[in-house]
């Protein structure tokens, strides 16, 4: 009984947030002198009007799911991983390096793709664990260290794309050579193959949280850190594991972005769609309140908005920041509402 009312309540908060996001966007759009109804139609229907739009939406959903988990898992023990952005970029960068190097050996896709997916997870997990160790060994707040690692990863990505042996000399804008076909994944019709790892990861995370010892320890620390320590839970170990898993998932998101969407590494990816994934991963996680089932659904809806926002900018010249702004307000609204409901 109690369980059902919690779900209903979560859904209510969530629906209210979407309504609020739309309301704020529409008011903004109207205030800017554009037609709010046309804008609304563009925002909601762009993803569903063409098969290209739908595929684009799913391609945005997948990295967003991963960056959301990257924030969510450490957040379950009340730690802030603001570094999903950098972990994703680092995973993507190392993936591109490995793909371009290993691609020349002529390995078949059956071996190459799992290798690349693992590479991204290892790279993202490694850079996140550094932040974890800085916390457990030196007491440095992960908010700081993860943000700093974002900036390090951005420059590293730009370095790999701009300089050295990987750059494509025929392109004006700095980017690496195109990945060979065996190192990329495609789509089944309008469904990108990238949704498979995203769905598997969602199920695995859900099972981990609900049905493993680690998940139990994470939940226990989330409820009450002090008593969890008293009962013998190794806090530092759990903290490192949450950062490792979160970072690995973000890194996997970077791999998929590189092998599925871009099929090469492009300088400036960090500050365009890469920044969107980093930022909206946090937004998404805060909205769904770390509910592992709601994350993929919410990531899809958010991608619909992002694709719609791009179209809005193209067709109506509504600045894309209008949507960013309303998303931030929507989070604030959701968080406040949830807090009011809880304290009652």
């Amino acid at each position: 009984m109690k369980g059902r009312s919690t779900v209903a309540r979560a859904a209510l908060v969530y629906l209210a947030s979407i309504a609020a996001a739309f309301a704020v966007t529409m008011i903004l759009v109207a205030a800017l002198g554009f037609s709010p109804w046309r804008a609304l139609r563009t925002l909601v229907t762009t993803s569903f009007r063409t098969s290209f739009g739908f595929e684009e939406t799913l391609k945005k959903t997948v990295p967003l799911i991963f960056t959301t988990y990257a924030f969510t898992i450490p957040f379950m023990i009340k730690f802030f991983n603001i570094g999903a952005w950098g972990q994703m970029l680092f995973g993507g960068t190392i993936t591109a390096v490995v793909a371009l190097t290993a691609g020349e050996t002529g390995l078949p896709g059956v071996i190459l793709i799992p290798l690349l997916l693992t590479t991204g997870m290892v790279a993202g997990g490694a850079i996140a664990v550094v932040s974890g160790v800085l916390k457990t060994r030196y007491g440095i707040n992960p908010i700081i260290s993860t943000i700093m690692s974002n900036y390090l990863a951005i420059q590293f990505l730009n370095f790999v794309a701009t300089a050295g042996p990987f750059r494509d000399p025929t392109e004006g804008h700095p980017m690496t050579r195109r990945l060979i076909a065996a190192a990329t994944i495609r789509s089944w019709g309008i469904v990108p193959q990238a949704v498979v790892p995203a769905l598997i990861a969602s199920v695995v995370v859900y099972l981990m949280i609900r049905h493993t010892r680690l998940g139990y320890e994470i939940t226990a620390i989330g409820y009450n850190e002090r008593s969890a320590r008293v009962y013998g839970i190794n806090f530092n170990r759990t903290l490192l594991l949450t950062f490792l898993i979160g970072g690995a998932l973000a890194g996997l998101g970077g791999t998929i972005e590189v092998i599925s969407t871009q099929r090469r590494l492009i300088e400036g990816f960090a500050t365009t769609s890469g920044a969107q994934f980093g930022m909206f991963g946090i937004v998404n996680a805060l909205i769904v309140n770390a509910n592992p089932i709601a994350i993929p659904i919410s990531a899809f809806l958010m991608s619909v908005l992002l694709v719609g926002a791009d179209a809005l900018q193209r067709t109506m010249q509504v600045p894309v920041e209008a949507v960013l702004l309303s998303q931030a307000l929507a989070v604030l609204f959701v968080v406040v509402t949830r807090e009011r409901l809880r304290s009652r």
Partner: protein
Amino acid sequence: MVGFSSILGQIIIYTTIYSLVALGIVIAGRTGVFNVGGEGIMLTAASTGFMTAYFSGSWLSGYFVAALTGMALGLMLVLVHEYLRVNQFVIGIVMVIFGAGLSDLLYKIIVGVRLQAPRAPRVPLIRIPGVSTVPVLRALFNHDPIVYFMYAATAIAWWFFYRTKIGLETRAIGELPQAADVVGVHVRRRRIIATAVGSSLIGIAGAYLPIFVTGTYNPDLSAGRGFMAIGIAIFAGWRPQRAILGGFLFAAVEVLSFQLQLSVPGVPFQFFLMLPFASVLLIMVVFRRFIDFPASIGKPYHRE
């Protein structure tokens, strides 16, 4: 090679940005409010402050509006935290996203895309007779008004926290709000005032970039300095006098890595751009003994 005085002068300019933001974070932090939204406040104030200065032709009114913008966002942060009990870090992060969107949106709507980027009005330099010609001191005292403002703000903050009774009470709020409350200090009011004042300093630092340092507005021009200032505030152990030292250290890293980039051609420039961020982590590891937090930081206060 550029002269020593000119590099030192350049470092002082960047010190101003870092120190003012760090000072803003320190002032709020002393009452227990951890403002991690500095980056968003900087960006928004940079946008509003620059546009005001550009359209009015007065740099002073630009900084004034920037301070007001910072104050408004700071109030939003502290009021939502204190009255609606939302986690400070969550609001802070929301504030960053909000600020990143709002700053560019406002600029796009009001100024739009122009062939020639609008330039801020010229800011006069203030020279102190007798001091401004001495070689090293010249680099410290031959600057625009905001540099002097930063010196003054740091000195006043130090004097306030360590030499006045209200300052002592305010520090007590950060350590043990219950005790401060018992002796009659209005905890919430102090927190609100401190966050508003601190955020207005952050706003001024944000506007300093487009009005003086670059002269034009660009998206995302704070480039992570609002986050690095959090590192400075922590490194400074929440003391104003150390915040200016930390600001100087970080500014020196930034300016010197830029100089190195020009004089060491073999190394890809991206690695020099990494230096300031890497040194934040290094400095925090090295100086971790000095790091302590106000005990109540991050927690809303309720009388219960």
